[in-house]
């Protein structure tokens, strides 16, 4: 279903997404820039290679499901969906504005391609689990992928869902954690460490893969291993990333969690991105 891209072209898609994230945030004066920049390669690998989806048939019953559980990072998601053909790039200009399909947090009833509405952290994995259970009951074949934030993994509900999926060995369910080490108000380690993170998921009955979440080739090979492993039970990919990736003054800085660049910052950010 996905067009065939080599790693080089996917890297160029990722560069485009990054630039559009900055453009859109700047134009809107709003958006969660840091967590959108950290998820770029993950979303690129998913939407331009891994997920069996068809933008012309967003309700296709056998499409792979994707839930952006860290719904605040909608900016990166919308840019990806637009580039993948779900809606025109022009729509990005309406991001976070009144009457827009592109609400601050993804709304399944407003935005084409969004499989579930999110925004309150901690809820997406349970919803994905429900989809995976429903798939089993209906004997469909699609895969369900849920992208979580690392800060989000401090929520108890994530572990309720992890316990259920792990102990029942629910197949065709993949969680990806955007492990960018930073949350809203500080670093993860300063607020509440997740470590030993892999061991926690393993203890909850999940198969764990760790990757560099900015390396497309790594992501693709982890995803393809995950697809095979997910036949026997849930798989989590811990994607090591950098919050604000690509813009030096945003990288690893929690102050860029929920902020859009002003005119000066915009020019500086765009220059850095185009120099890469």
């Amino acid at each position: 279903m996905a067009p065939e891209y080599d790693v080089g072209s996917l890297e160029s898609v990722a560069r485009q997404i990054r630039a559009l994230i900055i453009d859109t945030a700047h134009a809107a004066g709003a958006g969660h820039t840091g967590g959108s920049l950290s998820e770029v390669e993950i979303l690129t690998a998913l939407y331009f290679s891994f997920l069996k989806v068809d933008p012309s048939r967003p309700d296709w019953e056998e499409r792979d499901r994707f839930i952006l559980s860290k719904g605040h990072a909608s900016l990166g998601y919308y840019v990806t969906l637009a580039l993948r053909g779900y809606f025109p790039l022009d729509s990005l200009k309406t991001f976070d504005r009144e009457d827009s399909a592109l609400q601050a947090h993804p709304d399944m009833h407003k935005c084409k391609g969004v499989d579930y509405s999110t925004g309150s952290l901690g809820q997406g994995l349970s919803i994905g689990l429900g989809m995976a259970l429903g798939r089993l009951k209906k004997n469909l074949q699609f895969m369900t992928v849920v992208l979580l934030g690392d800060g989000e993994c401090q929520e108890g509900q994530v572990w309720e869902a992890a316990m259920f999926a792990g102990s029942k060995r629910i197949p065709k369910l993949i969680a990806i954690v955007d492990y960018n080490k930073v949350q809203l108000s500080n670093t993860i380690d300063a607020n509440l460490s997740l470590e030993p993170f892999s061991i926690k998921w393993e203890a909850f009955g999940w198969n764990v893969l760790s990757v560099n979440g900015h390396n497309i080739a790594d992501l693709l090979s982890a995803l393809s291993r995950a697809r095979a492993m997910a036949e026997r039970g849930p798989v989590v990919i811990i994607a090591n990333t950098i919050k604000g990736k690509g813009v030096s003054f945003m990288e690893g800085n929690y102050e860029w969690h929920g902020k859009a660049p002003n005119d000066q910052e915009y020019i500086a950010a765009k220059k850095e991105l185009s120099d890469r």
Partner: protein
């Protein structure tokens, strides 16, 4: 089931789910380790493949139901009302109500009767919480037959519905095949001195109170409100205009439930004297259901006394 027979609503509701399950193959039931208490275990026994026990994890239960609903299943989530509406309150709000998921929510153990479990288990605010959620339909059935009718109506509606049931036995007051209409009060008695508006298990008590009042020369109109949201605006307006004094009676806090809803409507349409009977702004405690109900005037004698005082106090009270 005979008129006047006392049957626990939860049992009637549990059996209703089994019957609905026979007719509706895509209906599922999820519970969080209280199936024997909420009686959803009846469904679990009848349809083991369509019953999901999630463990003591209410938030995850609601999320799973949301996901299942995207595949055309119609899931019921069920646990004690107190935990259903608050422990999983944000999940109900965001994963169900905002997403307009076709999930049905059963708050078992509504209000005071919890089998002596006390403050932590008595849902005194579930109707208020659910009523404030945009798009949520809220039902508070009176007797076992109406609990069955509400379960059926919930399945006929596309979208989220909250149905509250109570643990204790309640007398059957409605005939067989009783039906509930959304936003329609049921007039159980006509009168002119005072209007009593009740919901849930308080309605059978209010019905007794009306008889007591008649013996005392007080003529009361009794309106039963099976759906708190949408509420019957016309019936309330008519009561305010033609009678001019209202007593609301509910197994719930006086804040935000039936009494609150009636006051909102009356205040905007035709203000009149209203007295709300329910729990004052407190947590309940453990003990005998009837002793505790009696403390708040939520027995037939208490309802009759409050109605009589209103009728005699006139419109200004």
């Amino acid at each position: 089931m005979e008129l006047g027979e006392e049957i626990a609503q939860r049992t009637a509701f549990g059996q209703a789910l089994v019957e609905l399950g026979a007719k509706i193959p895509n209906m599922l039931v999820l519970d969080a380790d209280v199936g024997p208490s909420t009686q959803t275990h009846l469904f679990g026994r009848a349809y083991p493949d369509r019953f999901i026990e999630v463990g003591i994890a209410e938030q995850n239960m609601v999320g799973i139901a949301a996901g299942l609903s995207t595949l055309g299943f119609i899931p019921w989530v069920s646990t004690f009302a107190v935990f259903m509406t608050k422990r999983a309150g944000d999940q109900i709000r965001n994963s169900i109500a905002h997403a307009r998921a076709n999930v049905k929510i059963n708050g078992a153990y509504g209000g005071l009767p919890t089998g002596r479990a006390g403050a932590t288990h008595s849902a005194v605010e579930d109707l208020a919480v659910m009523r404030a959620m945009p798009g949520m339909i809220v039902m508070d059935p009176a007797d076992p037959r109406e609990a069955i009718a509400c379960a059926q109506l919930a399945m006929d509606i596309e979208g989220p519905v909250y149905v509250r049931t109570v643990r204790c036995p309640v007398p059957v007051i409605f005939p067989e095949h009783h039906k509930v209409a959304l936003g329609k009060a049921v007039k159980l008695h006509e009168g002119k001195d005072v209007a009593i508006i009740s919901s849930g298990m308080m309605t059978p008590r209010a019905l007794k109170a009306v008889e007591v009042l008649e013996g005392q020369g007080v003529s009361a109109r009794l309106l039963h409100m099976p759906t708190i949201k949408p509420i019957d605006v016309e019936a309330i307006r008519d009561a305010t205009e033609s009678i001019g004094t209202i007593l609301t009676v509910e197994n719930h806090s006086v804040i935000g439930g039936l009494g609150g809803a009636v006051c909102e409507v009356a205040a905007e349409h035709a203000p009149c004297r209203i007295k709300r009977l329910g729990f004052p702004d407190i947590f309940l405690e453990s003990g005998d259901d009837e002793v505790l109900f009696g403390r708040y005037g939520l027995d037939s004698a208490g309802i009759a006394a409050a109605a009589k005082a209103l009728a005699e106090g006139g419109k200004k009270g």
